[in-house]
């Protein structure tokens, strides 16, 4: 870890101003000023020397503005400083948005969930060791133009969807695929004011791996709006991983279904562990539309979801595993009693 300046912000505009002061052309994820909330990602990466911010702006003091959960008939509003455990244990979220609660509950460990904020959670960075460990010389994400060691290296956990020839790093989180599936909107405040964008537009593709999001330096995620839909109660999260807890998913599926007489009126599908960024499979959703939910239609949706998969040597299994995970999630969601 290198020496850095630590400051606390008392309100959102002060935080954003503090972060904007020294910002240059670097992408937000590599800007010299970074926000810190739970610190569960950034402290690790600073100790590893992967991230080298000059200044950290602590936003934990914004709890009153950004720390609440509000549920109305229109939808769910989650402040960016809500802790993962707080949302996971909220009875109303568990009942009305089970996929949100489950995606959080199945992530990380109890200790991490108690610290990590929702805003920070969606910005967690890949587990690709070629990125995290700076002794590997080739990483386009860390050092643009240096190449990608993972393409022909150890890539068992890497992505098969949405990848490019510059980077195949997996987006590791669980909450984000659930947000993508439910069509959440992310609210952002920056030096130039506030804006709201579909969550699906928050993360970028692999054309410039060093630039992970569409956030500008100094922009702060303030919360998430998740619209209520006829499918939100019949929703769940299936996470398949190497061990039972405290481990990232090899393949995960966030699904929400609106069933009428056994037919799929509307389906929302997010995928995790298999994609470069939080993934929503519109193809799989379309494949299910109007179909009776059964093994065949679920399998067809899974085929559609992974039709464009581009596996490498060690992660080829993720295509089949990803399909099966989605089939399992769809059929389990179909059996839910709501």
């Amino acid at each position: 870890m290198r020496p850095f300046i630590y400051t606390r912000a008392d309100d959102v505009s002060a935080a954003v101003q503090a972060a904007a002061e020294t910002s240059g052309s670097a992408p937000a994820n590599a800007a010299p000023v970074q926000f810190i909330a739970g610190g569960t990602t950034i402290l690790d990466l600073m100790k590893l020397d992967t991230m080298r911010p000059e200044r950290l702006v602590d936003i934990n003091g914004l709890q009153s503005a950004l720390g609440s959960i509000q549920a109305t008939d229109k939808g769910l509003r989650l402040g960016a400083l809500v802790r993962m455990s707080q949302a996971a244990e909220d009875p109303q979220i568990q009942r009305d948005y089970p996929v949100i609660a489950q995606s959080l509950q199945l992530a990380a460990s109890a200790q991490l969930r108690n610290m990590a904020s929702l805003g920070g959670n969606v910005l967690q960075r890949t587990r690709c060791q070629y990125f995290r460990n700076t002794s590997w010389p080739a990483c386009n994400k860390r050092d643009p133009g240096s190449g990608c060691a993972a393409l022909d290296g150890v890539n068992r956990k890497h992505a098969v969807l949405g990848v490019g020839d510059k980077c195949i790093a997996e987006y590791p989180g669980d909450f984000a695929p659930a947000l993508a599936a439910l069509g959440a909107v992310v609210t952002i405040t920056g030096p130039n004011g506030s804006r709201a964008i579909p969550f699906e537009q928050l993360h970028r593709g692999p054309d410039q791996p060093e630039r992970e999001t569409t956030l500008a330096p100094g922009e702060l995620i303030t919360g998430f709006d998740i619209p209520a839909g006829p499918y939100t109660r019949r929703s769940l999260y299936v996470k398949v991983r190497d061990r039972q807890s405290y481990e990232f998913g090899l393949a995960t599926a966030a699904v929400a279904l609106h069933l009428v007489d056994g037919k799929v009126e509307e389906a929302r599908i997010g995928l995790g562990g298999v994609a470069y960024r939080p993934w929503r499979s519109h193809e799989a959703e379309a494949a299910l539309q109007g179909k009776p939910l059964d093994e065949n239609s679920a399998e067809a949706a899974a085929q559609a979801a992974f039709a464009e998969a581009a596996p490498r040597r060690d992660n080829a299994y993720k295509v089949e595993l990803g399909r099966r995970t989605l089939v399992r999630a769809l059929l389990e969601a179909g059996r839910m009693e709501i």
């Binding site: 870890m1 060791q129 290296g153 398949v240 991983r241 061990r243 039972q244 807890s245 595993l321 399992r328």
Partner: protein
């Protein structure tokens, strides 16, 4: 050793003895005596020692290549940082530190690769510089600002890599024979295999694994004139002392190594690493104590590891399942420089009756650091292969896997026909099998199901050599019953403090809380390396011997004319209830007894050379050489502990997650000094067995011969949620040949064979045989769902 109870005196009937106070004695389930110190933070581990009031801190810089030369180290940025004091590189170290010889070469080192001896890089993550600064933070920052340039060469990573060199382990046969590492062979195995009506011929593979003790690799060094003190967690303090003396050109007596508590070791702290001498040198150069705490990632490359292995097993049997041929060939990876090997054919050829046996071990030199001991070093990989093959044979011969073991059970080892001192293998199978419910198993693979989960049941044998080392101990008894036991043994978390205290309490007849045990310090009498599961047997026996010497001294004093037990037979004096008692039940207080000796306290120093160890064993022990005797190395007998492992796996029929919710093991280990700590030890092993089968593997980027997943987020071990039910059962066993107290080491018995039991259960669940560890989702993803 004299029996505590003398020969029966004829003609008199001794009155019934008062019920001895057994609390905390040998055989009592006793909570750890150091438990409170550990959970309250009072126990001090290596890096809790700072060597003095004003220490400096070291941080390592390690190589980013696996093979080549350092062409330049630009340290200008690093030196410019405030607080940086010194930077050690090959340019200012060179031959000031000798490489030392490896453990398997009669030395003390884990590797003979001396990292700062020259510009040469031998493996990934080799130390290339040691930065010393006023603070840890400054040292770390400076280490990262070093710019090291390399002329790199294409490295050879492992098996099948171009440029590796494969040699037969026979190249050192003379030395090997002396060390008991022969190539076990009997009869004509190839011919018998050809002729066998039932055959198995398969290849098996185990991965690279790292110990990852929770306590990081740390070293603190401080000099007082030409006297060096080293605080470092160690499984072999005398070995470290003597090894460092060789490396630094000192007399062993100039070095003290202190290691009272150890935060996990598993073999990783058995041999001396190259970092220690460098920190000693750094401390000498700057005239201050130096504290090093290596990072978790550095721990993967500056210490040893369990090398990947390959095996070919050929089993031949007749129609009844009786083995007629067993051929076990092994291949193991090592460094370019050292011929380290575990050669587990020693054990795998001694498990079952078989008239025709052959074995061979080869080592493959690659551009890696030298591997080393990791819990049950030979048995974990070699019994994975053998016990998987036995399961395959059971299916081929259509015999229940437990019955196959019974059919091939024996009371003599098959190579030389030597008798086992005790062998409770089938008792263990029957006990564990009953607890597990094995009789309810449906033999057909894929035939057991619970909803979405396919169920598989598997079993395997475990064995571990019973080894005893030479040991010394000093015991002091004061008139108030306070006992002090001193021996440089090591409590690596196994409960050594507790079992040693129990032994002294038992032999001296005092309550456990009166016994104070001091371990892990070269200022104390020597004990062997805490390896090979020998500590309880070696140390408890020598402590008992010293206690018996104290009893003899007291007995002589109290039975003299005019003494408190005047006229009693000194041979029938016992120590009990903090008193001295004769065979008539007459008691004298310890206070009076000690006073009668004319001393303020009674002290005894004892040495013990176990059966089969050379007469020079004690002299060598003071030189840090442990000379463990036992296992298959004895000329007149063979001594192993045995057990049976049973596992249930559940595999999701669709997504194929593999979980092992139920583990049952039964073990026989002779005298169990402390059932509580012994159970913990075995249970930890069982859980590690699941880890070894389903989780643990260090991935290597073969292009660069570098480790990929070098931290505990990416190197998986089971979490609590993975381990639901573990049963650990002791099968009673008495074996007074192995040593006076009848103790068979069981620290490393619990994890052996369990990996095979898991693989066998996976086969039973799916019908797919996985011969390569770890077994992961992708290993069984394509297995058809049984109907």
């Amino acid at each position: 050793m004299a029996n505590a109870q003398g020969p029966e005196t004829t003609g008199t009937v001794a009155p019934p003895l008062p019920t001895p106070r057994k609390t905390g004695g040998i055989g009592a389930a006793t909570p750890r005596v150091d438990g409170r110190a550990k959970v309250t933070g009072a126990a001090r581990y290596g890096s809790d020692f700072f060597g003095g009031p004003d220490p400096a801190y070291a941080f390592l810089a390690t190589s980013a290549i696996a093979r080549g030369r350092i062409t330049e180290i630009d340290d200008s940025d690093a030196r410019a940082l405030p607080g940086v004091i010194d930077i050690l590189t090959h340019r200012n170290v060179g031959d000031r530190v000798k490489p030392g010889k490896t453990f398997s070469d009669k030395g003390y080192m884990g590797t003979s690769i001396a990292p700062l001896a020259s510009d040469r890089v031998w493996h990934d993550g080799q130390i290339v510089a040691v930065v010393v600064a006023d603070s840890y933070e400054a040292a770390r920052d400076a280490a990262r600002r070093l710019r090291v340039s390399y002329a790199d060469e294409t490295p050879s990573a492992s098996f099948d890599s171009p440029g590796t060199e494969t040699v037969s382990a026979e190249s050192k046969s003379k030395e090997g024979e002396k060390a008991g590492q022969e190539k076990p062979k009997v009869g004509d195995a190839p011919r018998a295999f050809e002729a066998a009506p039932v055959k198995i011929d398969q290849h098996y593979e185990t991965p690279t694994q790292h110990h990852n003790p929770i306590e990081l690799f740390t070293t603190t060094c401080a000099w007082d004139g030409d006297q060096l003190t080293v605080w470092e967690s160690s499984q072999n303090v005398y070995g470290y002392q003597n090894g460092l003396a060789e490396q630094l050109g000192l007399e062993p007596s100039q070095i003290r190594v202190v290691s009272p508590f150890i935060g996990g070791a598993f073999g990783s702290r058995g041999s001396l690493t190259q970092r220690t001498a460098l920190i000693a040198l750094a401390s000498k150069r700057i005239g201050r104590p130096v504290v090093l705490e290596a990072t978790r990632q550095q721990g993967f490359t500056i210490a040893t590891y369990r090398a990947e292995t390959r095996h070919r097993i050929r089993l031949g049997a007749d129609q009844s399942g009786k083995l007629t041929a067993l051929i076990h060939e092994g291949w193991e990876v090592t460094s370019r420089k050292d011929e380290y090997k575990v050669a587990g054919t020693d054990a795998s050829t001694r498990l079952y009756a078989c008239p025709n046996i052959d074995s061979d071990v080869s080592i493959v030199h690659a551009d890696r650091n030298t591997p080393g001991f990791m819990r049950s070093p030979p048995e974990v990989p070699y019994l994975f292969a053998l016990e998987s093959a036995m399961d395959e044979l059971a299916y081929a011969a259509k015999i229940d896997p437990v019955e196959l073991r019974r059919i091939n059970d024996t009371d003599r080892e098959p190579i030389k026909g030597l008798p086992y001192t005790s062998r409770s293998l089938m008792k263990c199978f029957d006990t564990a099998g009953q607890a597990f419910g094995w009789s309810r198993r449906s033999a057909q693979p894929g035939s057991m199901r619970d909803g979405d989960w396919m169920i598989g049941w598997g079993c395997a044998s475990t064995m571990y050599p019973t080894q005893v080392g030479p040991a010394a101990a000093r015991v002091t008894l004061r008139p108030d019953g306070a006992v002090r036991v001193q021996t440089a043994a090591h409590d690596i978390g196994t409960g050594a403090y507790t079992v040693i205290a129990q032994t002294a309490a038992d032999r001296l007849g005092v309550p456990l809380d009166k016994v104070h045990v001091e371990l892990g310090d070269t200022a104390l009498p020597p004990a062997p390396v805490a390896g090979g599961s020998n500590t309880t047997a070696s140390v408890c026996n020598v402590v008992a011997k010293a206690c018996d010497e104290i009893r003899r001294k007291l007995a002589a004093a109290v039975t003299v004319s005019g003494g408190p037990l005047d006229g009693a037979d000194p041979g029938r004096i016992t120590l009990i209830n903090a008193s001295v008692m004769d065979d008539q039940g007459r008691m004298a207080s310890l206070k009076d007894a000690v006073a009668k000796t004319g001393h303020g306290a009674v002290e005894a120093y004892a040495e013990n050379i176990p059966h089969g160890a050379p007469p020079t064993a004690m002299q060598n022990l003071y030189k840090g050489q442990s000379a463990l005797a036992g296992g298959a190395k004895l000329k007149d007998r063979i001594q192993f502990a045995f057990g049976a492992q049973f596992v249930e796996v559940r595999i999701n029929a669709r997504t194929r997650e593999i979980r092992a919710p139920r583990i049952v093991g039964a073990y026989a280990g002779g005298t169990i000094v402390n059932p509580l700590t012994a159970k913990s030890q075995l249970m930890g092993g069982q859980i590690w067995g699941v880890s070894s089968a389903l989780h643990e593997a260090t991935e290597i980027d073969r292009r660069f011969a570098r480790y990929y997943n070098d931290d505990l987020a990416e190197y998986l071990i089971p979490v609590n949620a993975d381990i639901t039910e573990v049963q650990t059962i002791f099968v009673p066993e008495e074996d007074h040949q192995v040593n006076e107290l009848g103790i068979k080491g069981l620290g490393e018995l619990g994890n052996v064979g369990l990996n095979a039991a898991v693989a066998n259960a996976v086969f039973h669940a799916t019908g797919v045989r996985i011969r390569k560890l770890p077994i992961r989702i992708e290993s069984v993803l394509d297995a058809p769902v049984p109907t």
